[in-house]
Structures are given as structure tokens and as C-alpha cells.
Assembly symmetry: C2
Homo-oligomer: 196 residues x 2
Amino acid sequence: MYDPLFDYIERYSDAELLTCDRERIASIMKPKKLRRRQFFLEEGSICAYTGFILKGAVRQFSIADKGIECINQLCIENWWITDRESFIHHIPSVYYIEAWEDTDLLVFRRQDLEILLEMPAIQRMFWKMSENNHIASQKRLDAAISLNALQRYERFVRCYPEIVQRFPLHHIASYLGVSKETLSRVRKSRVKLGHK
Amino acid sequence: MYDPLFDYIERYSDAELLTCDRERIASIMKPKKLRRRQFFLEEGSICAYTGFILKGAVRQFSIADKGIECINQLCIENWWITDRESFIHHIPSVYYIEAWEDTDLLVFRRQDLEILLEMPAIQRMFWKMSENNHIASQKRLDAAISLNALQRYERFVRCYPEIVQRFPLHHIASYLGVSKETLSRVRKSRVKLGHK
DNA sequence: CGCGGGTTTGATGATGCTCAAGCCCGGTGG
DNA sequence: CCACCGGGCTTGAGCATCATCAAACCCGCG
């Protein structure tokens, strides 16, 4: 069951994991199950775990005034979920993290982070992830600022084709920062143009 | 001349620098001057340095189709500048980084990164910075998606009052993702409301 | 059968972009 | 000393994009 995680670490750290590392990781990271609609994190509470998704789909969002959900992350297999700020500094989160499908995770706690980071492969993986995160949010920002609804959706479909299938339209709309009606129309117009 | 950097590192790493660390850092990081309008990085070239701003103001932007400048960073004293992707992986950059005022920097090269990272304080500083970056781009994304022009500008002024003074209106407009005309009108409307 | 979540469709209005013109001001050269 | 120029900023008019609101539709399920 740990294999997807080991693969992920090796791919990202660009290094091979020793058997003893694997054992160490397996001794620290515990399996956790979430049922559809169950929360991994709720606003106001402290993010106790960082989790790696083995199977399932999860969304992260905050609730703006007037109770509007504002989705800022849609995750599936082989993604990490956490509220970094809350997790690291033990402060209350402003986010919700909710399973959208029944989900299997491997999780670790804050106090185990230091132990994990003793392994160079893990350290490099986190470094690389932070780099990729940085680049990805740069791109998303670019998109939000300079592209219209159609272009944003096209880019999203191109980058995350697997995710498009797994979440309802209004979640994706919220993630892209457009209304569900607009996204619905965008999809329609794309179909006409040969729904590539 | 290295003091602002040392202060910065201590503040971010939340640790004190030993004299030997200071010497090591000073032996690695070289001063560099840029004159107004001089480029620190140009599209297509590889980002050779990562720089810490001692004095001056710098902007980072890309050029979209039709030659429109798209500003994604405005930096002044005590900020780092680099194109992380290009710097780390030696790949051509898509960005320009240009001095907007005469600027004094302290810079280091890619091969010196490993040496710097041997110092725990530096490692923790970079870790912390990556965390802050992550949080900041999350917020900026939020703003881009859910706030209108006025609200975005208000937030910008609140977060970066020093920057507002140092760059012309059309740079800030581009950074916020609004047209210069719109930002001009926004400013006017704020003045009416008591220009707080 | 009726209910509810998700989606679609249409009408309307707000926001903000584009284009065009003019203004302000500091710097340069005659 | 003045005329001119250019960069930055402002103002106005018209238009595109997109949010909002309201209604209807679709479909799986109790």
C-alpha cells in the first residue's frame, strides 16, 4: 500500500529509497480513510495531519462572506493535502478540506516532520514540491489575471484532464473563479467547436 | 554593507548567525549594481544570480503576445529576486527582471547555493521563505479571483504601502491585473471617500 | 411520484477593457 | 527663455465579458 508514496518520493527526489528508509517511512505514516463528504480539516481547527492521497478525490475551500464556498484546490491520487500554515505553526485554519469521494490517505503528524526531513530524499522531495508549487501558483495567477473564462478552462483541461472528470461543474467553476453558469456556457461553446 | 542581509536571515531563520557564518556568507555573496532600466535577467537567457536588494526597486515581468508587459513582481529593499526555475535548473527564463531605480544587490551563483544551504540558518530561512511565498501567492490568487479592482488595490496599499510610492501607476495596474485607466479611476474614487 | 442536486438557458446589469483625446510636467535643444 | 517632446496620468464613450437572478430541466433515488 505504500508503493505509490515510495514511487512519488523517488520520482520527486530523483533518488532511490533504501530499504531502511522505506521502513522508517512506513512506520511513521499511518493509513487513514475518509468517507465521501467527511472533513479532513475544518475552519477554526488546527491541521493535525499532512496526507498523501492513495485513492480518492478531495477539495479544499474557504467560506467567504455570505457563505460562498471558494475552492482553492482540487486533488486526486498522488497529491498531498494539508494547510501548511496551520500544520506547521499550530494555528487555526481558515480552510476546509473535504473528501469528495471515499478516500484513502497516508498521513503524518507535525512532530514527525522533523524525522521525515532527516532523510535526504524526503528533504529533496519537499524542496522540489515547494518549487513546483511556486511555479504552479505563478501560472494560476497569470491565468486568473490575463485569461478569460474560456481560456482558463482550456488550460485547466489541458493541465488536469483527470480532475475534470471527477468533480461536478460548479466545483471546477469555483476553482477557476467563474460562475457555474458561465462555465456551463463555456463547455457548450467548446462542444460546438469540435469539443477537442 | 552586509548587515541588512544578516538581519534578514536572522529574522527569517529565527536563529543567530555565528561570526564564521557571517564570514562565509560575505565571502560568497558579491555586491552588484544595476542602473535604472538595466536588466538583471532577460527572456531567453539563464538566470545566473539570485540577488538580495540592499537598495533600490526592481520589477519582474513577462511579455505576452502583442508585446504587453505583464508584471508579476515589484520588489524593493530586503527582497530576493531571481527566476527560481531558471536559476535552479539552468533553463532559459521567460521573464525579464529590470531595475526601476538604481539598485544595489548582493548576489550569489547557482553553484554557491549548496554551500549556503550547509548553514542551518540559511536552510531555515529558505524554508520559511518558501512557506511565505506559498501563502502570499495563495492570497494573491484569492484576490485576483474574488475581489474587484477597488478591493484589490485597497489590499495592495494595505499590504505594501512602501511599494505604492515607488512605482508608476501603470506598473501597479499591471501587477494587479487591471488597466491603467481603471486604476486611475479607482484612485480617484478613493480620494473622494476620504483617501484613507 | 415527488424531491433534490446538478446543470442549462435566458434576460439584465455591472464591471472593467479598449480606444481616443487631452492634460501635466520635467527635460532638452534652439 | 521658450517651444517642443515624451512619459505618465486622466477623462470620456462605447463595448465585451461575465455575474446575477430566475426559471426550467434532467435524472437518480427514496
